[in-house]
Assembly symmetry: C2
Homo-oligomer: 427 residues x 2
């Protein structure tokens, strides 16, 4: 039995105790964590400098180094995030259903934590704070494994968080940080002990996790997002949104990869859109019809299934909303897809028929994010259909249980007709 | 590409059309199905007689033959079930959240069908009717595979249901019945096309499904349910409930397998309970302390992890509720566990800390059932933590999507501080 499975087995047995902690105690722990992070800022910054120096020695790209950085600004951000999380209502213990089945036999569906969650995330120290505080607020125990490029920072931050959480009275099993890369494999083997895995990172990494564990996985691998520009679109609005969705943060999963343009508006929209995109350094690839209207590189079939994650966009001319919907459901990754139109009926049809976690009208796909949805933070974005879909905040970290309170009722009496149900919802 | 994967691929592409059907049409289809089942009752009964004759020739046990039977009574039951389903509110299109993120930027979380569901179920013709009507009411497409012992009945019933559903205007891809056993393997390979698998049947069968597919599986393998008899229990009530939970239907997953008895009440409870159980033909196995109080066969460690599914029960004396909670969380299957006590605080503690889909006070574990919860029917019982837990009715067959409607908002403006969110819940 590996160390991680020992930890997970103890967590599993004690997770009900964590689940039963009052919200005041969980909020108090969050406040203590914030205070402790500020009190130990210097140690954390020092640890972060060691990680940054190593990254520079290893020739890590400056864009990536920006994510590894943990400074006063990042600290202020995570502290503001913790304040927001404290203010959010308790996701645990909500009565979702209350029904009298018969006289003196009352059924309740009550929200409760999932139990033990494993989160494997990229080298971003602020993510460690967000994820651990989301798990604690929702009453879950968590095993965390952050990217090794920030190992020193992770260690420093985790120790501060853990001491503060346990000092505030949360169980010793509330959190554990895995430090070695081999421990990821051990974590994947913890079926029956870990209730949910949340992997974050590259498509290949997430797919590797999904293919190598029996534990339920919440997350997404691809993010092939589309914008369909309808014949009834406002062209200026559509261009502005398409440019934002492509360039505002190209490496994000919710950046747009393919524009689908209604034939009815192609001649008007394409020249303006391509000029605006190229002005931002975007390489445009078009199908034959697009290439006939604007001077861009031809797209191949493979383009419709590619997540560029860079300054490239593909464009295809389509015959109205229904062809766009078909293309998106076939080639998309069920993440976030938008329609640009002033026609309410077409928008409604698109939003009903596109089978994605997020369906938008007249705004950027880049809004798909837990913070922007008002969830305080997110542990990730889910493209699976079950449990939680889209950005996952506190709501996605809880499940429910049924509580049935009786006064000696037996099923035999209902089977023989001596008693019968009357089903009256009490709330 | 197998036939099933062809079917699933077409369903997947057309499932959004099914999902977008109005509830009136889905209810109308259910009414037509009921009418058609009654109109074709004679053909269905004739097909069922062929299955029953074959079962007799094959020496199938009479108890099992009872499940294969589809007669006037079963028909009346499934028709009543369809009426109940028509009366239930539409689970699709409910607005679960409506939040203004900023002026003119409104987020909605709306319930929607899961998409394509595969259900593999035991040889029970009434289950075919229940499952297909639940899937249709919830706007899902479904691939169904019933037990081969009722192949003729399944074929007759399915044809009637399918013709009625399509006749009422539902898409041709709404339902498909797999008939050959090999098709189960093909169905398990439909990752990316089938959104959810619901296997029903023996523990081994469900575990086989879980181990051999990448498709998310909802269901349960084991059903090791407990009753803890607390020191503050009403002995007569507790005995009556324990007997019902063991004998009312021993083959059910929600039947009790282990009784945990508080030492404080063991001398009083055990003699009465054992007498009552033995009077019903139950074999009792006890730990050393139980054996010292009543004359029963000694239990071994393996008994605490065994689902008997027959007239056997194990009994262990414990030191109060906390030892019982620990035992249940360690040896149970997170299905349904009950406490017998008149002490409200102890009951609350037990119901908070036992990590099961159902936690009961003073009533039989046999109540864990979609019909008895007032869900109309169930497609199965889930012991997994994610998505749906406990008996799964219409609610467990839907997910949600986020709809965001804007007027040209781009993330760049929020990132640079030109715009900011104000998060106002509208409902």
């Amino acid at each position: 039995m590996s160390q991680i499975s020992h930890v997970a087995a103890r967590m599993k047995l004690e997770s009900p105790v964590m689940a039963a902690t009052p919200v005041e105690q969980r909020n108090d722990a969050l406040a203590c964590i914030k205070e402790a992070l500020c009190a130990h800022a210097d140690e954390i910054f020092a640890a972060n400098r060691r990680d940054l120096e190593m990254a520079e020695r290893n020739g890590v790209a400056p864009a990536v180094v920006g994510r590894l950085l943990f400074d006063e600004h990042k600290l202020a951000d995570v502290c503001a995030g913790i304040d927001g999380l404290v203010d959010l209502p308790d996701p645990v213990g909500r009565t979702l259903l209350r029904r009298e089945l018969d006289e003196g036999l009352v059924l309740e569906r009550v929200s409760c934590p999932i139990g033990v969650i494993g989160v494997i995330f990229e080298a971003r120290p602020d993510a460690l704070v967000q994820i651990s505080t989301l798990c604690l607020k929702s009453g879950n125990c968590a095993i965390l494994k952050g990217g090794s490029e920030t190992a020193h920072t992770n260690k420093a931050i985790f120790e501060v968080i853990y001491r503060a959480a346990v000092g505030a009275g949360l169980p010793e099993t509330c959190l554990f940080q895995a430090e070695a890369r081999e421990e990821i494999g051990e974590l994947l083997g913890c079926y029956g002990l870990v209730d949910l895995l949340i992997p974050r990172g590259s498509n290949e990494f997430v797919r590797y996790i999904m293919d190598n564990t029996k534990i339920p996985v919440m997350g997404h691998s691809d993010g092939i997002c589309h914008i369909y520009v309808d014949g009834a679109a406002d062209v200026d609005l559509a261009v502005r949104v398409c440019v934002d969705a492509k360039i505002q943060y190209t490496a994000a999963c919710n950046a747009v990869e393919t524009l689908l343009v209604d034939r009815a508006i192609a001649a008007e929209f394409l020249p303006v859109a391509v000029r605006a995109l190229e002005a931002e350094g975007v390489e445009v690839r078009g199908d034959a019809e697009t290439c006939a209207l604007v001077d861009v590189r031809p797209a191949t079939e493979a383009d419709w299934d590619t997540e560029y994650l860079s300054l490239i966009v593909s464009i295809k001319v389509v015959d109205g909303a229904d062809e766009a919907i078909g293309h998106i459901n076939r080639h998309g990754s069920h993440h976030t897809d938008a329609i640009m139109t002033e026609d309410v009926a077409t928008a409604d049809r698109f939003m009903r028929l596109v089978d994605s976690a997020g369906v938008y009208q007249n705004c950027s796909t880049r809004f798909a994010d837990g913070f922007r949805y008002g969830f305080g933070a997110e542990v990730g974005i889910s493209t699976s259909k079950l449990h939680a879909r889209g950005p996952v905040g506190l709501d996605g970290l809880v499940t429910y249980k049924y509580k049935l309170r009786g006064s000696g009722q037996i099923v035999g009496d209902y089977a023989t007709g001596k008693a019968s149900f009357h089903f009256r919802d009490l709330c």
